[in-house]
Symmetry: C2
Subunit: 145 residues, 2 copies
DNA sequence: CACTCTATGCAACTTGGTTGCATTAATGGG
DNA sequence: CCCATTAATGCAACCAAGTTGCATAGAGTG
């Protein structure tokens, strides 16, 4: 296995209260090398020959997300995609997220959100052509409070 | 079957270039009576005793959406939810959508989007408590243009 | 009324994801 | 350094959502 920086990966796991195991190291290695969010099957393909059990992968991604090492986004075709929380362009807060979905290659990029403003501002990312927008507010509806 | 307004439903189908069939009338009847977007299984449950084949329901919803009688939103658990395009609070344009997701009852409401502004504005809906926001921009990434 | 073409229903299948359980391995204490 | 404890792994079996192919039924047109 070609690990970019084994001790860095090990530290990342430990910092997030995760036991260091082979499966987790493999998955984390794939995630740190990707600028875009990846699905279960993306990761499986990138582990070609190094595959881990599919259930283990699901549970690994679940554990990463629970411990806030990663976060998940639903893709266009409604699978979960996972991306590290530590990429520099990642929003600091947990509750406001913005993503850019390329309608051609379907990659999903994380965008920064400026939450200082009253109404959060999403700066249009340079070199990205935006053709449509989706907004989704979460909270409680009148029936539930 | 208790149809709210059979000839109205029939007209709606015809206006959208859809043949009037029993299955479509049933599904449309369910959709016009719902202020929130519904999933395949929501609709199946509301057709209790009147059920149509699941494949037919998928194809009916597909046809409705293709003919712009409905539009679809991905739910929290990543199923497709369908809602009529004709509710008054529905955005006029096809490419900017906003929804409110209740984290308690998980209903999904359509919100109007003011696209007159440079940066689209989503007015906070009255009586809804917003705790987090998700934004998703669609278009072309630098790799693809 | 008959013809045509679309919509329907059924069976079989694919993909994403989960559960239960037995086995294996990581870590902390002695 | 080893052992015990507890958590992670792998496997099989399962579930739900959604799709495909095909034969049949039913709308709509002339």
């Amino acid at each position: 296995m070609i690990m970019k920086n084994e001790s860095y990966l090990r530290e990342l796991l430990q910092e997030h209260g995760l036991k260091v195991t082979l499966a987790r190291m493999k998955v984390l290695d794939v995630l740190v090398s990707s600028p875009v969010a990846l699905s279960h099957s993306d990761i499986t393909h990138r582990l070609e020959g190094q595959e881990i059990d599919k259930v283990t992968l699901y549970r690994t991604l679940g554990a990463f997300t629970e411990k806030k090492l990663t976060h998940k986004v639903a893709s266009k075709d409604r699978n979960w995609l996972y991306a590290l929380h530590i990429h520099e362009n990642e929003p600091a807060v947990d509750h406001d997220h913005a993503h850019f979905v390329c309608d051609s290659c379907e990659k999903i990029y994380c965008l920064p959100v400026n939450t200082e403003e009253q109404t959060p501002v999403i700066p249009t990312p340079v070199n990205f052509i935006v053709t449509s927008r989706e907004y989704r507010l979460h909270g409680m509806c009148p029936d539930c409070h």
